[in-house]
């Protein structure tokens, strides 16, 4: 069994059974970005409780199944339309940045590519630059993805304080992966039904672009999604005859390499 890391999954929305199934499938670590709860939160205290859940409770729940848990903090793009709330949340994030499981700022991004979303995205970048944090970026869905990804890359290019290799552009697909890799960023391919990428298409992109700075994740959440999507990718790669070393690099070594850029990251693998 290949030990793997799911670098993007929303375990607050998953059952304990999923932890067990992931552990049985070989998951040794996961990272959980802050995201939209399915409804807009009413105030900053809702986010404070959410960040406590991400940094205190969820690591304990994962630990019961032998899985390491890491997290990312932000206000997501959907709620970024409320700029004043976003500013309150961004001001509160530093309270949590020194907690041991926090990897950085994320998943920030764009949703409908609006001025308010871009404004809040830039203010997150400013926080990440000032605190020297890694950044995980959500790119929009479907018709908005290409435009939004170009806008996001513009914003990184426009801020010389942030080095590209400290940023992962997530949810890339065939029309955005090369743009993000060429800009020097890490990329995440999300294996998610209907709106993102399938294991077969992700394997196609690995065959086309290689394994450098490429991650795969499930982005499992409260919607239609599969917390075992990374093992599905492993199965697809193996069935095509790819070397175990190639598979392991994408699903284990690459996430570790990216996470290791965070000054707080430490990991002692089980022997």
């Amino acid at each position: 069994m290949t030990a793997y890391i799911d670098p993007h999954i929303h375990m607050v929305s998953r059952t304990t059974d999923d932890y067990k199934r992931m552990a049985l499938a070989g998951c040794v670590m996961m990272s959980e970005p802050a995201f939209w709860a399915g409804f807009d939160r009413s105030g900053v205290e809702g986010f404070r409780d959410y960040f406590r859940q991400l940094t205190e409770y969820e690591p304990k729940r994962a630990g019961l199944y032998g899985i390491e848990h890491r997290s990312w903090l932000c206000i997501n793009a959907k709620e970024a339309e409320n700029v004043s709330l976003s500013r309150e949340v961004i001001a509160m994030i530093p309270e949590f940045l020194d907690r041991p499981g926090v990897l950085g700022i994320g998943e920030i991004g764009l949703n409908k590519n609006t001025k308010n979303e871009a404004t809040v995205f830039l203010e997150h970048l400013d926080l990440a630059a000032k605190t020297d944090e890694l950044i995980l970026v959500h790119t929009p869905h479907l018709v908005d993805k290409y435009q939004g990804t170009r806008m996001i890359l513009d914003m990184f290019k426009g801020d010389s304080r942030i080095t590209p290799e400290r940023v992962c552009i997530d949810h890339v697909e065939e029309h955005t992966i090369k743009l993000a890799l060429d800009a020097g960023h890490w990329v995440g391919m999300t294996l998610y039904p209907t709106t993102k990428c399938t294991p077969a298409r992700a394997a196609d992109m690995v065959e086309r672009y290689g394994t450098e700075r490429i991650l795969v994740n499930s982005a499992g959440d409260w919607g239609h999604s599969d917390p075992l999507a990374v093992p599905e990718f492993i199965f697809e790669m193996r069935s095509r005859g790819h070397d175990e070393s190639v598979i392991r690099r994408v699903v284990h070594d690459n996430p570790l390499a990216f996470f290791s850029l965070s000054r707080r990251f430490s990991y002692d693998p089980r022997q």
Binding site: Y146, D154, H175, H242
Partner: protein, 89 residues
Amino acid sequence: MSQPRDAAKVLDRDFLELRARILELAAAFDRIERATAGAAADRRREQLKQAVELLLSDRPGRAEAVQLHFSYEYDPQWREKFGLAARSR
């Protein structure tokens, strides 16, 4: 990066699944045809047909072409239009 497969092996593995997907598409277009007979044209119907035409190209990168076909255009002047100036390098 290992590249162990040749075209025959890819077809051996994927042919039946692709055949099934093409049938699904054919049936879906028939369904749309039945459902929209006599109705005003919906631009999405034409958009879907154009996407299928992209598949018939002999050039590689068909998946990227289909993705771009279903994407909004990017405006390089978006920051000026939003009044969000870039931080100087």
